[in-house]
């Protein structure tokens, strides 16, 4: 009697399942790497917008610094209706001659908005 030897259906299925788990893991890692890269570059842009705006704000007369509402800006920090970044400025008096200046830049899928804080000396009372 001739004995048919070969893989059983079960063993083939197990092999396929194992292979697909492996492939999924690799694909998942690649996806995560791409997502992390995108997030990192968006974060870099958000940081440069925040720094640029903070520099601009520092150039203003500290006496006139006040809180500003959210503004939609593009990747260069220019106000734009199609920009994906949201920039806002919060100014609080921390002492008689000192203001805390907080620039936040929010962007889609941010874990937390990019936030830069500095203190501005208002000057001696007139």
């Amino acid at each position: 009697m001739k004995r048919e030897t070969g893989f059983t259906l079960i063993s083939v299925l197990v092999a396929v399942v194992l292979l697909s788990i492996g492939v999924m893991a690799v694909a998942g890692t690649t996806g995560a790497v791409v997502a992390a890269h995108t997030k990192a570059s968006t974060k870099t842009v958000a940081l440069s917008i925040a720094r640029g705006y903070l520099e601009e704000v520092r150039g203003r007369d500290p006496v006139d610094l006040t809180t500003e509402g959210a503004v939609q800006v593009d990747e260069t920090g220019t106000p734009s209706g199609t920009g994906i970044f949201t920039r806002s400025l919060i100014v609080t008096d921390v002492a008689r001659n000192l203001k805390e200046v907080r620039v936040t830049v929010d962007y889609p899928r941010a874990t937390a908005p990019m936030e830069l804080v500095t203190l501005a000396f208002v000057g001696l009372a007139q």
Binding site: K2, V26, T30, V34, H37, S41, T44, S48, G52, Y53, E55, E56, R58, G59, R60, D61, P62, E75, T76, G77, T78, F121, G123, L124
Partner: protein
């Protein structure tokens, strides 16, 4: 019907074909995956290179602008920060490692004031006294010549110094870095109020798509530049004035007194940087570019302005 024959059974044709097809599918899939990964890496590298160049420019500018106006407050007609076209000029008193002192004029005997046109030891020559142990100006250096409130730039051609006195020969340049230079325009030296002080100069400009930076001048007065970045497609420099206005030039000569050198509080650079080569799968095969917008508020300009 020998049993030995069936023992040496090989793969059937069908088995071989199926395994080859499966093998091909797997090979094709992994090849496609590898290609995609390669393209992604290539694209990331290209973007990363542009980003790296941009960060280098931003940091260099920020670093250099911090020294704007160190020991040198701007006047309406002479600023520690000047721009024209794509050029940025940053001036400050040199710190090597301490602040370069002002060296007073050693006036010739006599009583006439102001002095006769020209220098004190020749047409382009100054007799100076220096306060320290050594005279800190050497050939090629750029310095400011201040006569009362009038400021000029000068470039040193040669120095003979000793015993607290220095004889400084100037190059005959009548214009340096867009400022009036030397004794041009009939400048008369003041017996009591003339001094020379060494300056540090940093100049940025764009030349054939390259961002150049020069620290100091060559002995013929030209800029001794090194390349900071390639692929600069656009480079627009704007200054911000005290009242919030922005302009691409500073104009002390007109009747507007809010756009002079001492009104400058900030600098803005708008740039478009391009990758060094086009890549087929990035930016649709054309050259990848990215726009940057840097803003700087040099601390000394701000402190100068907010001086109370």
């Amino acid at each position: 019907m020998t049993t030995g024959r069936s023992d040496r059974r090989g793969f059937t044709l069908i088995e071989l074909l199926i395994s080859m097809v499966v093998g091909l599918v797997v090979l094709g899939a992994s090849l496609a995956f590898a290609t995609t990964t390669f393209r992604t890496i290539q694209g990331n590298q290209l973007r990363g290179d542009v980003q790296k160049a941009a960060r280098f420019i931003g940091m260099s500018l920020e670093r250099d602008l911090q020294s704007t106006g160190v020991g040198l407050a701007s006047t309406p007609s002479f600023g520690s920060l000047a721009v024209w076209g794509d050029t940025i000029v940053i001036l400050g008193v040199a710190y090597e490692p301490t602040e370069s002192p002002p060296n007073d004029l050693k006036p010739p005997p006599g009583a006439s004031n102001p002095l006769a046109p020209g220098g004190t030891c020749g047409a382009n020559c100054l007799d100076l006294v220096y306060p320290g142990m050594t005279f800190d100006l050497a050939a090629g250096d750029v310095a400011r010549l201040q006569v009362n409130d009038e400021r000029r730039l000068i470039q040193v051609q040669g120095v003979t110094s000793g015993g607290g006195n220095a004889i400084v020969e100037l190059t005959g340049a009548t214009s340096l870095l867009n400022y009036q230079a030397g004794f041009s325009g009939g400048l008369l030296l003041d017996r009591f109020s003339t001094f020379v002080q060494k300056l540090s100069t940093v100049v940025y400009w764009v030349e054939d798509g390259k961002l150049m930076r020069a620290q100091g001048l060559r002995s013929d007065g030209s800029l001794d530049g090194t390349v900071m970045a390639y692929g600069v497609q656009e480079w627009t420099v704007t200054v911000t004035f005290r009242d919030g206005d922005q302009a691409n030039r500073i104009n002390p000569a007109d009747t507007d007194f809010t756009n002079d050198f001492d009104d400058v509080v900030g600098l803005r650079v708008h740039a478009v940087l391009a990758a060094d080569r086009p890549v087929q799968h990035v930016a649709g095969g054309s050259l990848f570019t990215r726009t940057y917008d840097w803003r700087f508020s040099p601390r000394n300009l701000m402190y100068e302005r907010n001086r109370l």
